[in-house]
């Protein structure tokens, strides 16, 4: 005996499944972004601290750059540490960008045709993550061509490659920043980094599943911005110093 399933209407609006089925789950994508972002955040912090050694003079700066190549030698081969970092950072970058694009596309699909408009300044950093991210990506490419590989046109004239015995990071840097457009692009990129970090820190903490109360959340947002600004300003002082002739 089966009940008649008569006149069961299928005519009501069927909700499109606006999310995604299959593929990398978004929660994992977010966790990957948070983890890789955290690695980047630590990296830029360390990088900035290293950068600031430039104020200790050319010798100190160059020997720091040299040490980076020689670190843990002979346990690690020449440039061993650098290559480990390069590989890790590259993998992180690919994962970070891939997840960003994936989530971006999913978000746009789930939102649909009618975008949210007129949001306040408090979400400026969040809304510009893609813009700042693209600028940072371009900057990374440029930065490597400029000061790591010294390839023109990115690299400055007279770029000197490091040798097993010495590094010429100081002069390379000063030469590079003496080009105004490069200095300005660098400053712009650091601004983007500040914004990217401001939201990135908050986002990473939430994505790691840390349940923050509303007040802590606000504090966290401030902390993120502060962190971004510290790194950006620390770095920005260098091109400014070069342009103003403090560093020669």
């Amino acid at each position: 005996m089966s009940a008649p399933a008569h006149s069961r209407s299928a005519s009501t609006p069927s909700t499109p499944h606006a999310g995604h089925k299959g593929g990398l789950p978004s929660v994992y994508a977010k966790l990957i972004m948070a983890a890789t972002g955290a690695i980047f955040a630590i990296f830029v912090l360390v990088h900035m601290i290293g950068n600031l050694k430039i104020y200790m003079g050319a010798e100190a700066f160059n020997s720091y750059a040299h040490w980076l190549r020689m670190a843990f030698y002979p346990v690690l081969p020449y440039e061993g540490l650098l290559w480990i970092m390069r590989v890790v950072l590259s993998v992180c970058l690919v994962a970070h960008v891939y997840c960003a694009l994936l989530l971006r596309r999913r978000g746009a699909t789930a939102r649909g045709r009618w975008k949210r408009r007129g949001l306040g300044l408090d979400v400026f950093a969040a809304r510009t993550m893609m813009v700042t991210g693209v600028v940072l990506l371009l900057f990374i490419v440029f930065h490597i061509l400029d000061l790591t590989l010294g390839m023109s046109p990115a690299g400055p004239d007279g770029f000197q490659h490091a040798t097993h015995e010495a590094s010429y990071a100081y002069s390379n840097l000063v030469a590079s920043f003496n080009r105004l457009p490069v200095a300005l692009f660098y400053i712009l990129a650091m601004g983007c980094l500040a914004l990217h970090l401001a939201h990135g820190v908050v986002s990473a903490v939430v994505d790691f599943g840390v349940g923050v109360r509303p007040r802590v959340f606000s504090a966290l947002a401030g902390l993120g911005l502060l962190f971004g600004l510290v790194i950006a300003i620390g770095n920005i002082t260098i091109p400014v110093a070069v342009l103003t002739g403090v560093l020669q």
């Binding site: 499944h17 989530l103 746009a108 699909t109 789930a110 809304r127 993550m129 599943g209």
Partner: protein
């Protein structure tokens, strides 16, 4: 007070919609938004035009039925207040109001300002419950729950299921809704035996129906139940916890 009201009119899910402008001349400050629409609809019916379809029920902010986007903001100008408790007091005489449905791909427009929010229920049906049959529960007093734990659970279970969090999210994400559900259930001892199983189901359906969270935190600006921001982190936390616990239900 006189108000110019631009309203989204759309015949059904498949037809294209458009904004139509109306005028209400005798609005009063104590009118709620649904009452303003009542007034306008009375005008329209008297004029022989089709009234504006909009969802409304309890009109005291608890059933979660109502939901209109006012000048781009889900529910309206006053933060954390449902449409039915938004009064014209917060608008000026002569002001221009733009009324739209809740906007999200997961909420297709049924007609005018009415949207289909059944995706929310599909999230609940995929695990957002406690599997206890009628009559089988132990004495509730034998399960002691600290005062603050009950209060904390209540902060999350206050969700009225209106969907404003999704409409407010630039990504159309439902993390505030799903996270409130998971937080409520994982806070209480009653929800613990199937905590991981629930997280797997709820998170999977949330991903199928809604977008990813980018922590814009726009949801908490509009949520009429005041669900705390910590709810959204519960989605990732519970999902990760469930993944680590592999085949376990709790």
């Amino acid at each position: 007070m006189k108000l110019t009201i631009e309203v989204w009119r759309q015949e059904d899910t498949t037809t294209k919609g458009r904004f139509v402008t109306y005028q209400v001349d005798d609005a009063t400050p104590e009118m709620s938004l649904p009452e303003l629409l009542d007034r306008l609809n009375d005008q329209l019916v008297t004029a022989g035009e089709e009234p504006i379809a909009f969802d409304t029920d309890c009109r005291e902010g608890i059933c979660g039925t109502c939901g209109i986007t006012v000048n781009g903001v889900p529910h309206g100008k006053v933060p954390n207040t449902p449409t039915c408790r938004q009064n014209l007091r917060s608008y000026d005489d002569g002001e221009h109001l733009k009324l739209e449905p809740f906007r999200a791909a997961s909420f297709p427009v049924v007609r005018d300002l009415v949207v289909d929010r059944s995706a929310l229920d599909r999230v609940i049906a995929s695990g957002g419950y406690v599997s206890v049959d009628a009559g089988t529960a132990p004495d509730a007093d034998t399960r002691q729950i600290p005062f603050k734990v009950a209060e904390q659970a209540l902060d999350f279970s206050a969700c009225i299921g209106c969907g404003a969090c999704i409409a407010a999210c630039p990504n159309g994400a439902a993390h505030l809704f799903a996270g409130a559900l998971l937080s409520h259930m994982s806070t209480l001892p009653q929800g613990k035996p199937e905590r991981s199983k629930r997280a797997r189901g709820v998170v999977a359906t949330t991903e199928e129906e809604f977008g990813p969270c980018s922590v814009y935190a726009e949801c908490v600006e509009v949520c009429p139940a005041g669900i705390p921001i910590s709810a959204i982190s519960a989605v990732n936390r519970e999902a990760a916890r469930a993944a680590i616990r592999r085949n376990k239900d709790n």
